[in-house]
């Protein structure tokens, strides 16, 4: 199909070019990473709360979740969800006497798989962040007559944020890179697009190198953004 085409055509935005596919693939990569981050934050916060819970079984279940999801390859989690989800959904639907709903959208499966892993790591970060605020400070703020909002805004949030932002930045980077695993589920994100392009043009070096550059742009741009946020956070906390 694309024998002997020059590099500019292959990477361009013309009819034979993979430019748009690569750019939209990078967009989907960001979407998976963002979705996974959101799922991970929600579930991670729940896990942190569960681990602090007085119900022993709940705390143990949350701890076990963390140990398992941090000890098992991310690839297995993605594969389990991708191949297992249609069966699980069908079994669920059968309980209500419904026909099997087929496979869920690949984007959802991907966000969920990366998000489930992300949650285990985010829970650890939140736990560390909670420990960073001494109980005495909260009591002192209460004694000083601060309401719950003022306490959160002026005492808890600045300190937690200061402790939590750098490790969350790390987790974001991992989400971004782990999103490549979702290519296994057939989602046309950057990894998948570069693989399909490499296969059909038979120019693997060119397309994998291009994908590497695009990933580097995304990871270094987000490093810069997180640095900025950390500085802002410090200023918000009253500056140092």
């Amino acid at each position: 199909m694309s024998d002997d085409l020059p590099i500019a055509t292959l990477l361009g935005f013309g009819p034979d070019g993979w430019g748009w596919a690569l750019v939209s693939g990078a967009g989907l990569t960001l979407a998976v990473a963002l979705g996974a981050m959101a799922i991970g934050t929600l579930l991670g916060a729940l896990l942190t709360a569960a681990q602090a819970s007085r119900a022993v079984w709940l705390a143990r279940a949350a701890a076990a979740y963390g140990v398992i999801l941090r000890g098992v390859p991310e690839l297995l989690v993605v594969l389990l969800l991708y191949f297992g989800a249609p069966g699980m959904l069908a079994a669920g639907a059968a309980l209500f006497g419904l026909p099997p709903p087929g496979s869920p959208p690949a984007l959802l499966t991907g966000c969920l798989a990366i998000g489930l892993v992300s949650a285990a790591y985010q829970a650890e970060v939140f736990r560390g962040g909670m420990l960073a605020v001494p109980r005495g400070q909260i009591e002192a703020a209460m004694a000083a007559g601060m309401g719950p909002f003022a306490r959160f805004r002026r005492v808890i949030a600045p300190q937690v944020l200061h402790h939590v932002l750098p490790p969350l930045g790390n987790i974001w980077q991992f989400n971004l890179k782990d999103s490549a695993l979702v290519s296994i589920a057939g989602l046309a994100e950057l990894m998948r697009v570069s693989l399909v392009a490499a296969g059909s043009t038979r120019r693997p070096f060119l397309f994998f190198a291009t994908a590497m550059v695009l990933y580097l742009v995304m990871t270094s741009a987000s490093t810069a953004l997180f640095r900025l946020a950390e500085r802002r956070g410090q200023r918000w906390a009253g500056g140092r």
Binding site: V67, I68, L76, K177, A180, A198, M212, Y215, T219
Partner: protein, 223 residues
């Protein structure tokens, strides 16, 4: 029911047969990555080596390992000097390509761990060692290295756990490791959940075992 048990037993046996591949890949890339990381940190101490080490770490930490695997296996292997050169017998082998990608990738992460540990060694101690008349080699061997290793151990252990998990990516370039076997069994039996749970249990045992071992070493060093 007995049919189900027979299937699980056969699957477990197939997975255990693939375990040596996962273990060999983990161990060899742990050794390779640690040695390369030491070279990177040493290079960072020189003027010419610093930017090179920086680029290496930037590239391998900033891109997905899966992409690096494909780059080594399909991309680099397709280049003329490799495809038609003396290195082809090595690159022809998927296991070698997986080892190379894992070594390069993990070396970047371990180098960061070692660099942070090196920076954390108190300068006072190094100066004291100098004042005692220790030569450069003795200083590195008797003062810097022991401190560095102790400081680096927890983070280094985390990287090794990550490495064991990462070996599963070798299955994407046709290596039949634990994950690869699991996928093959599923493709032929359409039984997903029980097969993946068996494979996950193997990795969990490996990572938990390593974590326990590292804790013991840490305790031993602390005393």
């Amino acid at each position: 029911m007995s049919e189900e048990l027979a299937f699980l037993a056969a699957t477990a046996l197939a997975i255990v047969r693939a375990l040596p591949i996962t273990l060999v890949l983990s161990l060899s890339s742990a050794i390779g990555a640690s040695m390369l990381a030491a070279v990177l940190v040493a290079a960072q101490q020189t003027r010419i080596g610093r930017p090179l080490a920086h680029v290496w770490i930037f590239v391998f930490r900033g891109t997905p390992l899966l992409l690096q695997m494909f780059m080594v296996y399909y991309g680099v292997a397709a280049l003329g000097p490799i495809r038609h050169g003396v290195l082809w017998p090595l690159f022809r082998d998927p296991l070698f390509c997986a080892w190379l990608a894992l070594t390069c990738c993990c070396s970047a992460y371990i180098a960061e761990v070692l660099r942070a540990a090196l920076a954390a060694v108190p300068t006072g101690q190094i100066e004291a060692a100098k004042a005692c008349g220790m030569g450069r080699g003795t200083r590195v061997r008797r003062v810097i290295m022991p401190q560095m290793l102790r400081l680096a151990l927890p983070a280094y252990g985390n990287e090794l756990v990550m490495l064991i998990k990462s070996t599963s990516l070798a299955s994407t370039i046709t290596v039949v490791d634990v994950t690869g076997v699991a996928q093959l069994v599923i493709a032929h039996s359409y039984r997903t959940i029980e097969v993946f749970c068996l494979a996950a249990a193997v990795y969990l045992a490996l990572t938990a075992g390593l974590t326990a071992l590292l804790r013991r070493i840490e305790r031993g060093l602390a005393q």
